[in-house]
Structure formats: C-alpha cells, structure tokens
C-alpha cells in the first residue's frame, strides 16, 4: 500500500485540479446576468384642478350651466366644454379651468399652492373658485388648506370662506363656513384612498368687505396653500 501512496496522491491531485478547472469553465460558459434594477416608492400622488366660477352678479352662487352642458366645464384656453372625467357628481354650475397641479412626494408630505389674482374687485362682490382633488395614493391622506402671509395691505379689506361640497346619492349640498380674514382661514379634511372614494371638491370664496368704499382693479392675494400628509392612522386603510 505504501508503495502506491505517491501515485494515489498524484491521481487525487489531478482529479482535484480537473474539478477546479471544470467549475471555473462551467461558470464562464453557463451564466449570464444583468443587475441594477431599482423601483422607488411614491407615497403621495394627487392631482388638483382649480377652477373659477362664472357669476354675473357676484352673489356667490355661480351661473347655472345651460341645458345639455351639465357636468361640463370650460377649458382655460378655449371655448370648448369638457366633461369632468373625475367628477363624482354632476356639476350644475359654470366653472372655467384655470390651473391644474400635482401633489407628488416620496416622503409623508406634499404641497402645492394656487396664486389667485382678482382684477375686478368691488365692495360686496364674491369671487368663487373650486378645487377638485383626486387622491391616487392608494391610502387616505390628510389635507390642510390655508393662506400664506398677507403682504398687500389692501387684502385686509377682503374676507374668505370655504364651502364644502357633499354628495348623498344624487343630492349635492353646499355648506359655507363663516367669513374670515385671510390669515384665519384653515380647512382640514381627509381624503380616502379607495378608488371609488378618493375625490374631494370644495369651493373657495373671496369677498370684498361690504363696508369698503373703493374699487380695486388689481389685487394680488396671498397664496392659497394646500398641504397633504400621511399620518399613523393611514396604516391599513
């Protein structure tokens, strides 16, 4: 046996060497790969359409849509009437699209703002705007609206309020808040994430103080800020 030991060791070595070569060769021959795929999570995804109402007498109740145009709005740069694709009720008042924005964030907070300019203000006149929000985030988000810092001293002659829009079956009801100064307006609500219940409409109304005595051809209002955030109670919804 001792006599054959060197030969056995030599053969074993050759076998091990062959195994090493074959493993390396098989690796070179039989594998291919690609790497580096990345997918980022977006947490908040909402759209905000902002409309201004046509209200001939500025009484705070927009003009009604003509027969056949119910559920439609006027495009901002045309005379065409477009059907509200994301509406959850049939709009009966005349609105014109003035802006559309996105609220997107990979974190827990997203925000946007609307810059409103009034060019035909007069005492007691009410200017009506509508925000239409669709929450595509897949879960509930909180919405908080307020005005930014007031810089134009004339803005002190104005008041504003939020009019909530609620729908029960086919009945649409509008509930106005009290008139308040810009800095005091705050509207907080929650928008669900369910595909069938992820929309919110509300009106923003701005009124020049009835006791004011002058007209204003141009007034830059403070920005109307909309902030969305996710909180603990969003889990599981």
């Amino acid at each position: 046996m001792k006599k054959h030991l060197p030969m056995i060791a030599f053969i074993l070595s050759l076998v091990a060497c062959a195994a090493a070569v074959s493993v390396g060769f098989a690796w070179m021959l039989n594998a291919d790969f690609m790497h580096g795929m990345q997918f980022q999570i977006l947490q908040i995804d909402s759209t905000v359409n902002f409309y201004s109402a046509k209200d001939e007498n500025y009484n705070g109740v927009p003009d009604l849509l003509s027969s056949g145009n119910e559920g439609k709005y006027e495009e901002k740069d045309s005379e065409n009437w477009t059907v509200y694709s994301t509406a959850y009720y049939t709009e009966k008042y005349q609105f014109k699209l003035i802006d559309n924005k996105y609220m997107l964030s990979t974190t827990t907070t997203a925000n946007t703002f609307e810059n409103i300019q009034i060019t035909d203000a007069a005492p007691s006149r009410i200017h009506t705007y509508k925000a239409q929000i669709v929450n595509y985030s897949g879960f509930a988000v909180n919405l908080r609206c307020s005005f930014g810092t007031v810089s134009d001293e004339k803005s002190g002659r104005f008041q504003c309020r939020i009019v909530t829009v609620s729908v029960n079956s086919d009945t649409v009801s509008y509930t106005p808040s009290d008139w308040k100064a810009f800095g005091e307006v705050s509207y907080e609500t929650r928008i669900n994430g369910d595909n069938n219940d992820n929309k919110l409409d509300f009106w923003l109304q701005i009124r020049m103080d009835p006791s004011a005595t002058d007209e204003m051809k141009s007034l830059q209002l403070p920005d109307f800020k909309m902030v969305m955030n996710i909180d603990d109670s969003s889990a599981g919804t």
């Binding site: 060497c17 390396g24 291919d32 790969f33 795929m37 997918f39 996105y102 996710i230 889990a235």
Partner: protein
Amino acid sequence: MEKLTRAKLKIIRAALGLFLASGVAVLSVVYAWFLSGNKNNTSPIEIGTQGDRSMQFSPTVIAVRNYLTGAKLTNTYVRDEKLDLKLASSDFTQDGGGQTQKPEEKEGEDFLFREMLPGESVDITFGVYLQTNELVGQEYEIRLCDFGMGENNYFTLQGDTVNTTTKYSVAGAYQWGVLRGETAGMAWMNDYLAEPYQLPTAITIYSGTWTEENVGADKAVWVTLRIQENFSNYYAFLGKSGAVFTNYLSNKILSVGRILLIGK
C-alpha cells in the same frame, strides 16, 4: 533505497502542491462569484457577455410602467460599449381619462422607475437564448438575487418588547410574477407574515430546458417579469407584530441587484 525514498517524497510534494493549487483555484472562483453577487445595486442594468458564454440575455430590455390612471411609460434599454444597459428611448401615453404627470426620462439614464404607487406595475421583457447548440437538452433558471439593503432599502421596526428592533427589506411592499398571456400569478418578494421574515438570497422566477429552437439571438425565449407595488403585506405585517406605525416607506427604493441566467 534512499534515492527511491527521496523520489517518492518529491512526487508527494508535487502532488500536495498541485492539490493546494487546485484548492486555491476553487476558492478563488467561488470568492469571485461571491464578490460579484454582492455588488451594490446603484449601477445600471448590465448584461454581461464575458467569456464565451453559451447562454445569455438579449441585448435589449423593454420595461413598461403601468400607471393607475391608465397611462403607460415604455422604456427601451440597450447595451453601451461597457455592456451596461442604458435608456435608449422612452414613450409616454396618457390614456384612461386620468391625469398623470409625464416623467422626465433622459437618454443614458440607469434602470430606475421613480415614484411608484401601490397597484402600479412594471413589466420587464427580455430574451434568453443559446449561442451554440452545446447546451441543448440542459435545464436553466432565471433568478432574482442580491436584494439591496442599502440605506434607502430597509426600515427598522420596533416590536412589542421594548428595545427589540428588527431590520426589514422594503421588498415586502412588492410582488413579482411572470406574465402568462395577460395575467400574472403574483408572489411576494418578501412575505412579512411567513417566518423567517428575512429576504431569501434568491428567487427563481423562470426555468426551462434549452432546445434546438433556442439557438440564436433571433430565437430567444421571451420572458416578461412583472414587478408590482402592493402595501397589503406591509400593513398586515405591521398589524400582526403590534408594532408602532410610523411611515416606514418614506424615501424607500427596492433594488434587485442581479437577474441571473444559469444552468440547473
């Protein structure tokens, strides 16, 4: 007699040397494999063609992002001279009546789908084929490996017991499936409800046997992998653990370090 013993010793030494050398060779191959398997995921998709590989991925990968609004983003990735996959073209269509912000895709960008939402999916289509008929009859697998655990790829969770925190991959917010026709049976990348919670090292997404029909790039077997974001597993996991919820998905990215094509 003494000469004979010396000769035997020389042979034994040579044999031992060969044995050690082969051991080092095996270890180096395995180590190289290990190293390449742990490359980070920040680089773009690469399709490697080192050596004379008989099986390989197609040089083009098409990825279609399906938005909830009905919009679609179709990205085509091709190899550059470094064999990395870079964005070559991008097409965006807005359908379904919703509003989707058009993404700002730039040619040459890495493989990254930004800002995906629950329910959104990306369908990644690539081909696999043989260069020669040498491996006909042999089985092969396509695996997802090397799930990233970089800073943006995991969250820590505090359990019922104070001071007990565990690190989890964000992969539990994603499912995968291989499309059959228009539907896909989806499976979790990382099922938080199945212990152990830790990510598997690899997931086999597709397997097959090479045939004569698969020889040549124009006869590739085309596979469409769907990656879908879904938070239900994540929410159920939080509920079961009794953990305090804060928003753990903030600023998170799922990264699949490698798609591997290999013989069984």
